[in-house]
Symmetry: C2
Subunit: 221 residues, 2 copies
Amino acid sequence: MASAVIERSTVEQIVRQVAVEYLRKNQNRNAPVLTVQTSSRHMHVCREDMDILFGPGSELTFDRPLFQEGNFAAKETVTIVGPRNRLISNLRILGPMRKRSQVELAFTDAIMLGINDIPIRLSGDIAGTPGAIIIGPKGVVELKQGVIRAAIHVHMNPGEAAYFGVSRGDRMKLRIGGEAGLTFNNVHVRIDPSSRLNVHMDTDEANACGLHLIKDIELFK
Amino acid sequence: MASAVIERSTVEQIVRQVAVEYLRKNQNRNAPVLTVQTSSRHMHVCREDMDILFGPGSELTFDRPLFQEGNFAAKETVTIVGPRNRLISNLRILGPMRKRSQVELAFTDAIMLGINDIPIRLSGDIAGTPGAIIIGPKGVVELKQGVIRAAIHVHMNPGEAAYFGVSRGDRMKLRIGGEAGLTFNNVHVRIDPSSRLNVHMDTDEANACGLHLIKDIELFK
């Protein structure tokens, strides 16, 4: 290969470095605003399960928007029944529909249902996870798998990823100040052009640090 | 002051340094065994409130021992009523009796009762904290104060404190491994000759890190 040729990947790397330098130097003006939100337990449904739970051809009804563009809390709720016949009612469905149904619980919720070793997974990674019975107004679905505790994660776009110097699949730390101060050491990085910088933790994690009372929050590599 | 005289505090300091050196060098043999335990919500009662709640001259009934010598879970329970008339029943009393009554709740418990800004305090430090109504089988007590979220803390004896190089009132860090890994940054050090090395966290904190599934735990300055 002629040494005068610069490969595309090298060009990309140089551009990325320049962008990062620029963002770092202009940190005060350009530092992305960090928001941290608590995800309560919820369900995502696939088309097939929606047909069974709410009737053939039924659609989710928009209730309120979520932080990430296009996502919303639906008016529809279901009941989930765990392995020991305990149940949680009013489990909210989040839209839009997905390719596969999935239930995201906090640890406390899982224990309440009798799932004592709920796996911690990124959304979508449900192979080998526990199942559950889901009861809707029109029918019942037996999920073979898909019940997870969502790993704490941060959504960001490629520009924000460059600012922090992280790539898809990296883990970052999130320090929460205050008297119950703690640092989450495994915050998974999820990058998408349509994302806005935003950490999602579950209710157990938010309660442990008293999140709603805290202003002193820092995300770092 | 004659320079040949060595003050008592200096002697103590030298002894302490020698002890620490000895302990550090013999770390493998002498490293204290760390246990971490979850404190569920509970109450401590004073003699006066015991008289009202369970009858004059009544005593706590031993149910099971706690990790720290002399402490026990009693058979007696009460009901606590919060500011919005919500209640939690079967609130366990821990013995022995104390000089002042005190209720220790997790954040989740406090929210359930309608106390949305429960202060985080060390046990005993209850000035200016919220009160509650306590209902026992023989009477009702209105606590003017004493409802706290207990700050995460570590009990240790002076030898263990020397091993870690910490003093009363210091704060340490507790790192919990695993997928939901996090580090508690404000673990209060409590030193007493009768103590055994033991971290106490509340149920919210234990649920956030999935404590019961984790073996990889580290306490450090």
